[in-house]
Symmetry: C2
Subunit: 227 residues, 2 copies
Amino acid sequence: MMMVRKSKGIGERHQKILDFIQEYQRKYKHPPSIREIGEGCDISSTSVVNYYLDQLEKNGYIERDRKISRGLRVTGANISVDTLRIPILGPIAAGIPLPELQPGVNYLTDNEANAVDVARNLLPPKEKGTDLYALEVKGDSMIDAMINDGDIVVLKRTAEARNGEMVAVWLPRDNEATLKYFFKEKDRFRLQPANPTMEPIYINKDVPLEIKGKVVMVIRKIETYAA
Amino acid sequence: MMMVRKSKGIGERHQKILDFIQEYQRKYKHPPSIREIGEGCDISSTSVVNYYLDQLEKNGYIERDRKISRGLRVTGANISVDTLRIPILGPIAAGIPLPELQPGVNYLTDNEANAVDVARNLLPPKEKGTDLYALEVKGDSMIDAMINDGDIVVLKRTAEARNGEMVAVWLPRDNEATLKYFFKEKDRFRLQPANPTMEPIYINKDVPLEIKGKVVMVIRKIETYAA
DNA sequence: CTTGACATCGAACGAATGTTCAGGTATCAT
DNA sequence: ATGATACCTGAACATTCGTTCGATGTCAAG
């Protein structure tokens, strides 16, 4: 039979230590010592902290420089405390459905290739980053939203939108994924292109319309240069 | 008379220490100890290192957490080794001249308000970041380059451009600053808007034309949401 | 030449910190 | 019951590391 306490992966206490390290790092700009972790996590003995740290290292949650004071750092999602790693879940294009978002799931990845790193101070200070994801724009279909082929759009997961926010929507009726400014009117939705010279689209409220998230940031990398 | 050795601000040795700390941090992911700095900078005594560290701290070049092992970090330009702080030199708009760039000068700033922080891995690996600067787009004049009011364009300082690169140019003839794809043809330059539906501008080679830099990245922050 | 600010050295001290170990306790499968 | 395994304790130990201090060298001003 399976033991209850043994949760193969990470336990409550592991998580607490992990959280403590990150919070400490953010607060003091340097990692905590073993003893400080002990105090912060109600562990009386340094050897126990060491014990957990070893496990966290084995499972790849942290890196340690043994013998070096405060030589530990959490690996994974974020390359530094000042940066958020936002996963690129897939492409967004006119004719293909948007990737499904499991509500409440974190899409954190430590795979640099499938993520963009964004400095924290480019986002609102309260932004935790857990419900952010990114899509890579394919094709010119978003051109009326001032968004180009190859651009990366960062979105915040939401099912509702306030007027004036730019949202990613899926229109089953037209088999269309698009980025538009969103306005709720009497009995219809108005999807307004960012480009002021273009006309809005009107969608009656009885027509299905899925809001997949609101746009938080657009990043366009120009690759035609070498450093 | 002024003494020669005393250079009020920062000396050669201070700089060496500063460089060493940054290089060490990049390499080992944690700050060096006093003794390691000594070895790396050919200083035989820890007290001398401490002596210089004190001065660097007084002048605001580094921060120290006394008593804490390896508790020092360089302040200023970059919030972390994984991030480049790129100064926003000013606005770019149709009718106003571009900010003058002193060749060879670094515009590094520690003022967060006048800079954007960009994760290093969003730029080419060799990019040192010293000749990067950013401009904030004002108005809709760049709309044909798929660039909106309020966007931040990151540029690499250069006076020459290769065909196909997007550059910031100043056209004294038309009193116009603009962002366009650059092509050199027989005896004229072709400035091609990013928006494929728009027509290029042709400039004869005898017409003055100042290339201020090539576009490396465009960042659009959408502020209409709260975390 | 003397003085004093600055720079450097070497050594010693003590606090901070990672490591190790000998033993405890609880839970669970057999 | 029993042994295995995970979890935990307390203490001692060995380094690492920041700090301090007295001595020395250098150079420009008085």
